[in-house]
């Protein structure tokens, strides 16, 4: 066995061993059971009427044509953009830092290194194909195998092609403009064909007719020639019977062999670019780093931190600064059109005009802020887990750290929720909305947000590996099960935390109803908000005690 095959097989075997060994820990074992249960329920359970939908995806010839055209178009776009984007980039293949340290100085030829890279990437291709087979499972076992084999071949071709493009950029003695010109030419041919036929396409009475016309365009004339290799590759996983699969097989096989030979015979010097890429990937795995370091004066801080006062404010100040330095207004504005479209959809049919639409957007953002915001805004202990050894040396209690850490996302999310509520308040009269309900919603927001943030931070302290994110995080069915459990747990915590506040508010509301014949909603809302915040304070103390007892070595070991 060659050393590179030995390396690939040993790495694969040991990775499996590590995955199996970690099942000794109950959290991974339970996660595996939950994950397998989820996969069975969603993908593998014998199909009922509702489950027949996925099978129906491939049922008609029109549907198959649509999928084949969509797949071929996607492949074409990937293939063309590989040549047309960043043509000046240096060839870079994704090797690990260990690969570079051990293999690049070793007496191995470039061809051997390339073969190793191709073989190693097959693991990902096979896992990806298996997953897609699971998701788009065909009715029969043979259908499943054909889909898997077809997908594996298509993904291998794509992988080889992208590698080949990267290498070709560094090749000597090749007319580099030629493939770029071919990609541009092919794009022009397809765009031109569509443009010339636009009148016919626009006059088609139904979507099925449009699809058939597109199918005709993709199989005839110059566009047919450009599209043929992409359709050949896409047709393979969509084959209906073993006979059609075998008939469709030679074309993709030829493309596969040619792509492999193209990659293996490359004379490109990829070592330097690959080393740079490995460093980049390693730094991403180490944790989030500022991609474009910018210097901002001290005035860029949200407020001036005085030297005396509660430490919680110092942590709030620190975390607000970090938000301002990695989230720009541009990032937020990117989401606005999405929110606007949803808002208009929510309120279509109502006659409130712009006010109604805006309120729809705000209602959506309000609920997303309350219930999704605490999961997304992670500038608290979840982000600071990497700095826990610094935080632990500070002369402050764990509860202080926890309170300080959750303050920044709590403040940000509360401000967003209150801005949404303000909009509701302004347009309340035109929308026949009781202003008191809007005020009640605003009052409840901080407590609900803080409680969820504390629940997330509790998980960060108790089970940091469940929170760690980025490419370095653990993967697998057991980890997927853990995530599902975590979501259920958080939902349960929210229900349990809201229950006392809800009961108290309901009792008070009923009492008021019997006394004065109506419920001024603000009064029960104030009581509920106060209970939620009191619960948050108690929870912060409990999590603080946990943090005091947390041994950083446990987190280091996980990282």
């Amino acid at each position: 066995m060659g050393p590179l095959l030995y390396l690939t097989l040993c790495s694969l075997r040991n990775r499996m061993r590590v995955r199996l060994r970690r099942l000794k820990e109950p959290r991974y074992f339970i996660g595996l059971i939950v994950g397998l249960g989820y996969i069975w329920t969603v993908f593998l359970r014998p199909r009922t009427r509702s489950g027949a939908a996925t099978g129906a995806l491939f049922a008609t010839s029109d549907a198959r044509l649509a999928i084949e055209l969509a797949g071929a178009t996607l492949l074409f776009l990937l293939a063309a953009s590989a040549w047309l984007s960043s043509p000046k980039r240096r060839p870079a293949l994704s090797f690990t830092r260990a690969d570079i340290q051990f293999l690049f100085p070793a007496p191995l030829t470039r061809t051997e290194l390339l073969r190793y890279k191709v073989v190693r990437s097959q693991v990902g291709v096979l896992v990806g194909s298996a997953f897609m087979t699971l998701v788009f499972r065909r009715g029969s076992l043979a259908g499943g195998w054909m889909f898997f084999a077809g997908m594996a071949i298509a993904l291998t071709i794509l992988n080889l092609y992208i590698t080949g493009v990267s290498l070709s950029r560094g090749s000597v003695g090749v007319r580099r403009w030629l493939p770029v010109a071919l990609a541009a030419g092919a794009t022009i041919v397809l765009a031109g064909t569509l443009a010339l036929d636009w009148g016919t396409l626009a006059s088609m009475p139904s979507g099925t007719d449009v699809m058939r016309e597109l199918g005709r365009l993709a199989t005839t004339g110059a566009a047919g020639i450009v599209f043929s290799p992409f359709r050949a590759v896409t047709r393979l996983p969509l084959a209906e019977t073993p006979a059609t699969f075998l008939r469709a097989f030679p074309g993709p096989l030829l493309i596969l062999v040619l792509s492999y030979l193209w990659v293996i015979r490359s004379d490109a010097s990829f070592e330097e670019g690959s080393a740079e890429l490995a460093e980049k990937i390693a730094s991403i795995r180490k944790g989030p780093q500022p991609s474009t370091p910018r210097v901002r004066p001290a005035t860029a801080a949200p407020f001036r931190l005085s030297i005396e006062g509660r430490p919680e404010m110092a942590i709030l100040w620190k975390n607000l600064i970090s938000v301002g330095r990695y989230v720009s207004l541009r990032t937020l504005f990117r989401f606005l059109p999405l929110f606007f479209v949803f808002g208009v959809m929510l309120t279509r049919g109502s006659r409130g005009g712009v006010g109604s639409a805006l309120t729809g957007v705000c209602a959506l953002v309000y609920f997303m802020t309350i219930f999704l915001g605490p999961q997304l805004a992670r500038n608290d202990l979840r982000q600071d887990l990497r700095n826990l050894d610094v935080l632990k040396t500070w002369p402050v209690s764990g509860a202080t750290i926890v309170r300080g850490e959750v303050l920044a996302p709590a403040v940000l999310l509360t401000v967003i929720a209150w801005l949404c509520a303000l909009d509701g308040f302004v347009f309340a009269s035109s929308l026949k909305l009781q202003p008191s309900w809007v005020v009640a919603a605003a009052l409840l927001a901080p407590g609900l947000i803080v409680l969820q943030l504390l629940a997330q931070n509790t998980i960060a302290v108790m089970w940091p590996s469940w929170i760690l994110t980025g490419p370095a995080r653990a993967r697998g069915i057991d980890v997927m099960g853990q995530r599902l459990l975590m979501m259920l747990g958080l939902l349960l915590v929210l229900v349990v935390a809201v229950l006392p506040a809800g009961i108290a508010a309901a009792v008070l509301g009923l009492g008021l109803y019997y006394l004065i014949g109506g419920i001024p909603i603000i009064v029960p809302a104030i009581i509920a908000a106060a209970i939620l915040l009191a619960e948050a304070m108690l929870l912060s103390r409990a999590v603080g005690k946990l943090l005091d007892r947390t041994d950083v070595s446990a987190i280091d070991a996980l990282e």
Binding site: P297, S306, I307
Partner: protein
């Protein structure tokens, strides 16, 4: 000032530190040395409260780290081998944050003095990503010295520093010892320990194997006139 009493730290089945006791008084610079995996970093991390001892007690200026960690940590500074800075805080903001956490009274004067001493004035508005490793180390040191701690712990303080940085670092450590601080320096660089430390503690497989001045431990090891390297190899049983 720093009292470590019967410290034991266990990771799973591995006993990293085993019934380890020693003291560091004011003005003392103690070199903590030992082979790889001897338990040096675990000891330091337990002393500063990053890790929790399995058994044993640690006190800083009379404050028990387990019972009153906040008071104990108020007198401590820990300079880790790898400086961990907050990605999105500038140098000046790191110092301001530290000043607030430790309630440093004459912050402005101390801050500018430290920035001058460590030649960071021109970098005060820089983010960590814009600093070299040596500069980051200096920022960590500035934050550590800001509250004038009575106990200072350095883990491999010379890692990644250039010759000028090494000279400054050695000067900083010695100056803090002379100013009455209790200093622990953990390092594999025996010549550094020999040069700046007033006392040496050798740890091997989690247990203390020697404690005293170089003259004292060479006498204990029956290796008078030997260098610290020779003594180290002898007491850790790696002479051959």
């Amino acid at each position: 000032m720093i009292t470590v009493s019967h410290l034991t730290k266990v990771y799973g089945e591995l006993k990293a530190v085993d019934d380890f006791s020693f003291e560091v008084g004011p003005g003392e610079i103690v070199g903590l040395i030992g082979p790889n995996g001897a338990g040096k970093t675990s000891t330091l991390r337990c002393i500063v409260g990053i890790q929790t001892p399995t058994t044993g007690t640690i006190s800083i200026d009379g404050h028990d780290m387990a019972k009153d960690p906040v008071a104990a940590k108020r007198h401590l500074a820990f300079m880790a081998d790898e400086p961990h800075l907050f990605d999105y805080l500038t140098v000046a903001e790191h110092l301001r944050l530290t000043g607030r956490i430790y309630n440093v009274r004459d912050f402005d004067a101390r801050c500018s003095a430290l920035l001058n001493e460590l030649q960071l004035t021109e970098k005060e508005n820089s983010l960590p990503a814009e600093l070299s490793r040596g500069m980051k180390q200096k920022v960590a040191i500035a934050c550590g010295l800001l509250h004038e701690p009575k106990a200072l712990l350095f883990d491999e303080p010379l890692t990644g520093l250039d010759p000028l940085g090494i000279r400054h670092m050695k000067g900083t450590i010695v100056a803090r010892g002379r100013a009455g601080g209790a200093v622990i320096v953990s390092s594999h660089l025996l010549h550094l320990v020999e040069e700046i430390c007033t006392r040496v503690v050798i740890i091997d497989r989690g247990r203390k194997v020697a404690d005293g001045t170089i003259a004292e431990i060479s006498a204990q090891a029956a290796a008078e006139g030997s260098t610290l390297e020779q003594i180290f190899l002898k007491v850790t049983g790696r002479e051959s």
